[in-house]
Each structure stands twice: as structure tokens, then as C-alpha cells.
């Protein structure tokens, strides 16, 4: 098991955002967490990468308890988190955004090959490498966010709403790239409101409702589930 989340509770002040959440991710999988806005999907990813702290429960990565490890060390241990809303450094150029992602990489010699890989997946970023990232279009910013995650060359990547705000064509493209990343050997934990798209590329999925996991299964099972169809798949 690559990641094991055991009974975590997360609070924002006195509001409980996650309630006794447990799930696992195996090496090589694409696992998706779907759910409505505010269900706690982003919070789950933030707890894994250490930006918010679980009040109780544990998070194990490759058997190591990372519940109380600060985020920059978790990034160095092998988990990349592409945050919701992209989190681009708008004051830095495209190239500098990629450079900064190398902060988690100990062996800087891998930087060149990594960057070549990122640029072959996103040729657009190569064209715009000297441009200030704040002036990129939404789609380009999403590519940069994913590209930045890939620069870290981590085996495990958390993606938070990569389709948000993108045109249908770009959504297609970004999901194609997620499959490609997975084929290159990376494990993906994908959080999405676009449940249909997410389940179409994932191996397994979990359904989060107001802070609790209510359903788990293979992607096919979830897609065929009548409740899911009604609630998330539009019929």
C-alpha cells in the first residue's frame, strides 16, 4: 500500500471538515475522490500534504507516519500536490515556477531530464517559459501547475480539481495527460467535481459527502451505481 489514511478528523476552528475518513491508495493506481462542493475533497488532499493537520487519526505513506510532518518535507518524501485553483506563483515566470518546484528535489542533476519530460507533455509551456505566469490563460496555468508537480519527479501526485474552469477541449486534454502520467508509472489521487470524467479514467473511487466517506468501489461499480448516477452524473 502506498498511502493509507486511517480515521482522520480535520477541523477548521470548531467546524469539522472531515469525519473519520479512511481510505487507501495502491502503487500504480488512479484513485478518485468525488463529491459535491464543500464535501471535504480538498481538505483531504491538504491533510495528506501537511497543509492542514488531522486532529486525530493517522496518515501513512509507504508505511511511514506523515501525519505531523511539515509540508515541505512531505514534498521531499515523494508526494506532489497540485493544489486547487492551481496555486501558480503569478509574480514568477513560467520557467521560475518550474525551477522553484525543484526545491523538493535533492539530486539537481535530474532537473534537465525532468524539464524535458514536462515540456514534451506541455509544449505550450516551453513556448511561454519567459512569460510571467500571472499573465497565462487559465488552461496554461493548469498545465503549469501540473508541470510543476511533475518537475518534482515524485512517485505520487495529488491533483485537486484539474478540470476546474477549463473548456471541454482542455478538460479532455488534461485528463489525457493524467492517464499518460499514470502510464509513466506515477500513482495519482484525483479529486474532482466532474465525477463522470474522473470515473472514466480512474481505477477506483470514493464518494465524500459532508466530510464522511459514504461509498467506495471500482470506477465501474461507482459509475453503475444508481445513487451516484442521480447525484453526480446527471441522471
Amino acid at each position: 500500500m502506498l498511502l493509507e489514511v486511517r480515521n482522520i478528523d480535520v477541523y477548521y476552528g470548531s467546524i469539522r471538515a472531515l469525519n473519520n475518513v479512511s481510505f487507501t491508495v495502491d502503487k500504480g493506481e488512479i484513485v478518485t475522490i468525488i463529491g459535491a462542493n464543500g464535501a471535504g475533497k480538498s481538505t483531504t488532499l491538504r491533510a495528506i500534504s501537511g497543509i492542514v493537520r488531522a486532529k486525530s487519526g493517522n496518515i501513512l505513506y509507504e508505511g511511514t507516519d506523515i501525519t505531523h510532518i511539515p509540508p515541505h518535507l512531505i514534498a521531499r518524501m515523494g508526494i506532489s500536490h497540485v493544489p486547487e485553483g492551481r496555486g501558480i506563483f503569478g509574480n514568477l515566470t513560467v520557467q521560475e515556477n518550474l525551477d522553484v518546484a525543484l526545491s523538493s528535489v535533492r539530486d539537481k542533476r535530474t532537473a534537465g531530464p525532468n524539464q524535458d519530460k514536462v515540456f514534451s507533455l506541455f509544449p505550450r509551456l516551453k513556448e511561454r517559459r519567459r512569460q510571467v505566469a500571472g499573465t497565462l490563460s487559465g488552461g496554461e496555468q493548469q498545465m503549469l501547475a501540473v508541470g510543476r508537480g511533475l518537475m518534482q519527479n515524485n512517485p505520487f501526485i495529488l491533483l485537486d480539481e484539474p478540470s476546474m474552469g477549463l473548456s471541454p477541449v482542455l478538460v479532455e486534454e488534461i485528463f489525457g495527460i493524467i492517464v499518460e502520467i499514470n502510464r509513466l508509472g506515477k500513482t495519482v489521487l484525483l479529486v474532482e467535481q466532474n465525477a463522470f470524467k474522473a470515473l472514466s479514467i480512474a481505477h477506483r473511487g470514493y464518494v465524500l459527502e459532508t466530510g464522511s466517506l459514504v461509498l467506495a468501489g471500482t470506477a465501474t461499480e461507482l459509475r453503475d451505481n444508481a445513487d451516484i448516477k442521480k447525484a453526480y452524473l446527471g441522471g
Binding site: 509540508p71 515541505h72 522553484v100 526545491s103
Partner: protein, 301 residues
């Protein structure tokens, strides 16, 4: 014409010193949204380092200026580092007001502690001659008064600013600093150790202020008291606000505007020289509160 050029030159000279101080205010603000009121007192410590270390350095190295300014930068960098660790870090996740009040406290502590007889003493001190001041003859008959000290002030400041721009734009830690000032949480996801970045800002900014202190002492030839940082500090702070606080080129621009307008105002009336700083502050806050090069950034929730 001669008078105009002379005031312009004077303004550039004092503006150079303000720039070195203003950079520290703006760097710390950019990263922590904290106005480090004690920054002016670090500048003061830098000036006193010139007084205490200058003669020692002359004995060791023969020439005093370069070793003294480097030593002052090291001492002030260390002081900044310790200050952040002891005074500001414990309040990192508390309200911003607590840190602001603490900054005032650190400032008062440094001023009064350094005024003790066995520390720097409150007395008026003659600053040692780190270089021998002499006038540089300017061709033409404009009657310009240009000294080697003026050239030293401007060139040292420009060299340090170029180094800072290189550091912030080209090195990994510099890029990390800019990333942290934009978005701390995402920066930590990139593997950036926020503590290291904050410490770096608290070393580099004070080191520049320390260099400014040496230039100040060399220029004015005396140290009035450990409260001497107050006025240059206020003016440099206003310069940083004028340029857009948090913006590094803005601080430099603001400092030169401040220095030049102060020189012209002083040539009219010396009280006006002090007043002009506040006139500029009020003006910029009315017309463009984000500063000349600053961008309006809404508070993130």
C-alpha cells in the same frame, strides 16, 4: 544650474543610503506582511560597528573601509537572524498586530539598551575616517562640490543593489523568496522550507542596512546617539511605501525620489527637509496607496 545639479547630486547620495535601508523593510514586508520597526535600529548598530571596528580593521588590514563594511554587514545580518528567531518566530501564527507591537518593542529595546554607558553610550561620537575625504575637481565653472565619499556612497549602494537583484532573480533561494511572498502554502508544497526563506530575508535586509550605517557614518562623520536610526528609518520606510512596499525595485525608486526631494526641500529650508517626507507619504496614500510600482493585493482569506 549649478545649484540645481548640486542638490540633485546630494539627493542621489542620501537616496543611496535610504535605498539600502528601504530594501530591508520591503523584503521583510513582502514575505511576512510585517513592518519591522527595529530595522532602523539595525542600521544604527551598523553605524556603531564602524565606530568600534573601524580602528581595529585599520590596524589589521591597513585600509579600513572594505573590511569594516563587510564586518558591519555580518554583524547586522546575525543580529537580524537572532531577532527574527527570538522575537518574531514565536508569534508567526498569532495575530499580525502582536508581531507589529513586538517590532516596536524590539526597536525600543535596541535603542535604549545601546544607549547604556557600557554598550554604545548615549554620547556624541566622532566617526573614524575609514577613507580620507577629498574633493574631486569637476571641470567647468558650475561650482559643483563632489567628494570621493559621495562617489563611494553611490557606488557601494549600486553594487549591493545589483548583487541583491541578482540574488533575488537568479538564485534558487531568491526565487523561493519571491514564491513565498506570493503564496506561502503553495510554496511549502514545492518543498520550500519557509523558515529558511524567512531567516534569509532577515539576514540579507539587515546586512544591507548595516552597509548603509557605515556609509552614513562615513558621510556625516559623527554618530549622534543610538537613536540616530529613527529619522533615516522613517524616511526609508516612507520610501518603501512610496515605491510600493514589498516591491524591491520600488524601494530603490522610492528611496531616490525621497533623497532628491529631501535635498531640494532642505536647500529651501531645513525644516522643510524633514516635512517633505510626510508630504510625500500623505500624497502617495491619497493618490496611489499601493505605491508607484506596487500592485493592489486584496487580503487573502
Amino acid at each position: 544650474m549649478g545649484e540645481f545639479l548640486q542638490q540633485l547630486i546630494n539627493g542621489i547620495q542620501i537616496g543611496s543610503i535610504y535605498a539600502l535601508i528601504a530594501l530591508g523593510y520591503t523584503m521583510v514586508y513582502g514575505i511576512l506582511r510585517l513592518i519591522n520597526f527595529a530595522h532602523a535600529d539595525i542600521f544604527m548598530v551598523g553605524a556603531y560597528m564602524g565606530f568600534f571596528l573601524g580602528p581595529v580593521m585599520t590596524k589589521i588590514f591597513g585600509s579600513a573601509f572594505l573590511p569594516t563594511i563587510i564586518a558591519a554587514m555580518l554583524v547586522c545580518g546575525l543580529l537580524g537572524f537572532v531577532m527574527e528567531k527570538l522575537a518574531y518566530r514565536p508569534l508567526r501564527y498569532k495575530s499580525r498586530l502582536s508581531a507589529l507591537i513586538t517590532a516596536l518593542g524590539v526597536s525600543m529595546f535596541l535603542e535604549n539598551f545601546c544607549s547604556m554607558p557600557r554598550v554604545f553610550s548615549p554620547a556624541f561620537l566622532k566617526f573614524p575616517d575609514l577613507i580620507v575625504a577629498r574633493n574631486i575637481p569637476i571641470p567647468g565653472n558650475l561650482g559643483l562640490n563632489v567628494s570621493n565619499v559621495l562617489l563611494l556612497d553611490v557606488s557601494v549602494s549600486v553594487i549591493l543593489m545589483v548583487l541583491l537583484f541578482w540574488f533575488v532573480n537568479k538564485t534558487l533561494i531568491g526565487k523561493q523568496m519571491r514564491a513565498v511572498s506570493f503564496d506561502k502554502a503553495t510554496a511549502s508544497l514545492m518543498g520550500i522550507n519557509i523558515d529558511v526563506v524567512i531567516s534569509t530575508a532577515f539576514i540579507v535586509g539587515p546586512a544591507l542596512a548595516g552597509a548603509g550605517g557605515i556609509l552614513y557614518g562615513t558621510t556625516y562623520g559623527m554618530l549622534a546617539s543610538p537613536f540616530l536610526g529613527t529619522w533615516p528609518g522613517i524616511k526609508a520606510f516612507i520610501a518603501a511605501v512610496l515605491g510600493g512596499i514589498g516591491n524591491i525595485p520600488g524601494a530603490v525608486l522610492g528611496a531616490y525620489i525621497m533623497g532628491i526631494s529631501e535635498a531640494f526641500a532642505t536647500s529651501v529650508n531645513s525644516n522643510l527637509g524633514y516635512g517633505i517626507a510626510f508630504a510625500i507619504l500623505i500624497g502617495i496614500l491619497l493618490v496611489r496607496p499601493s505605491g508607484l510600482l506596487g500592485k493592489f493585493m486584496p487580503e487573502k482569506v
